[in-house]
Amino acid sequence: MPHAPEKRSNAPVFWLLFGAGGTLSALFGVGLILVTGFLAPQGIGISADALSYENALAFTQNGLGKAVIWAVISLFFWHAAERFYLTLKDMHVFSDTGRRLLTYGVAAVVTVATAGLLLAIGFNQTM
């Protein structure tokens, strides 16, 4: 006696973004933190001007660079959003709408904002 199918959940959208962010961070997160948090700022193994304004701008104006930055920032947020959403639910904090706004909402805003920033920074002419 199969029962009537339930309403399909939209969770797959969030779950796939969560998974993508989780995988990306698991694979490269440690390396990224080492580079941007320790090596570059402390100048360990990297010349001091590697992080100069010009270099950073060049990287960010590069199409590939933009894609990397956008993926890292937004997917990391989507990953955190899913987990934080569930933890808030476990902890019975806020209403469900409140939780969604605080987590998925923020991730969505960050995704759009990052894209906006990257567009505002412009493209490298030579590339």
Binding site: L27, T36, G37, F76, A81
Partner: protein, 132 residues
């Protein structure tokens, strides 16, 4: 009439804070730290847009002890994430059958973790050896 009267026990609201779920809750919260790290990057992007001074200020902050402490914490959380992520990986993928027997989940975890070590090391190596 039936005397049946099933008794429903309330679910403690703070179950997540107790054994054996503490481990799970910490794992989930490690996800939040990943967003914190992304927020640091995002603030760099904002600084970049605002111009060289803002950028240099941001760089200065990155080199500060406060930032070091923060990144130290983020690194620990990230390592925890790597560990738990690959512990769950074999549970989210279909069973791998090689040579007639299922590949042990421990092997999949090990392989996944190794790939992560390689990826992150490659990233660091690339940055270190790239002629800037």
């Amino acid at each position: 009439m039936s005397e049946r009267r099933p008794y429903v026990r309330p679910m403690p609201r703070d179950w997540w804070a107790h054994r054996p779920f503490r481990h799970y809750t910490i794992r989930e919260l490690s996800g939040v730290t990943i967003a914190i790290y992304a927020a640091v990057l995002l603030s760099g992007l904002v600084a970049l847009l605002r111009g060289p001074e803002a950028w240099d200020a941001w760089r200065g902050w990155l080199a500060s002890p406060a930032s070091l402490v923060l990144h130290g914490a983020l690194l620990i959380a990230m390592l925890w994430h790597v560990r738990t992520w690959f512990q769950i990986l074999p549970k989210t993928m279909p069973k791998l059958i090689l040579g007639g027997t299922p590949v042990p989940q421990r092997t999949i975890t090990l392989v996944g973790t190794s790939v992560a070590v390689i990826c992150s090391s490659a990233l660091v190596a690339f940055v270190l050896w790239r002629p800037f």
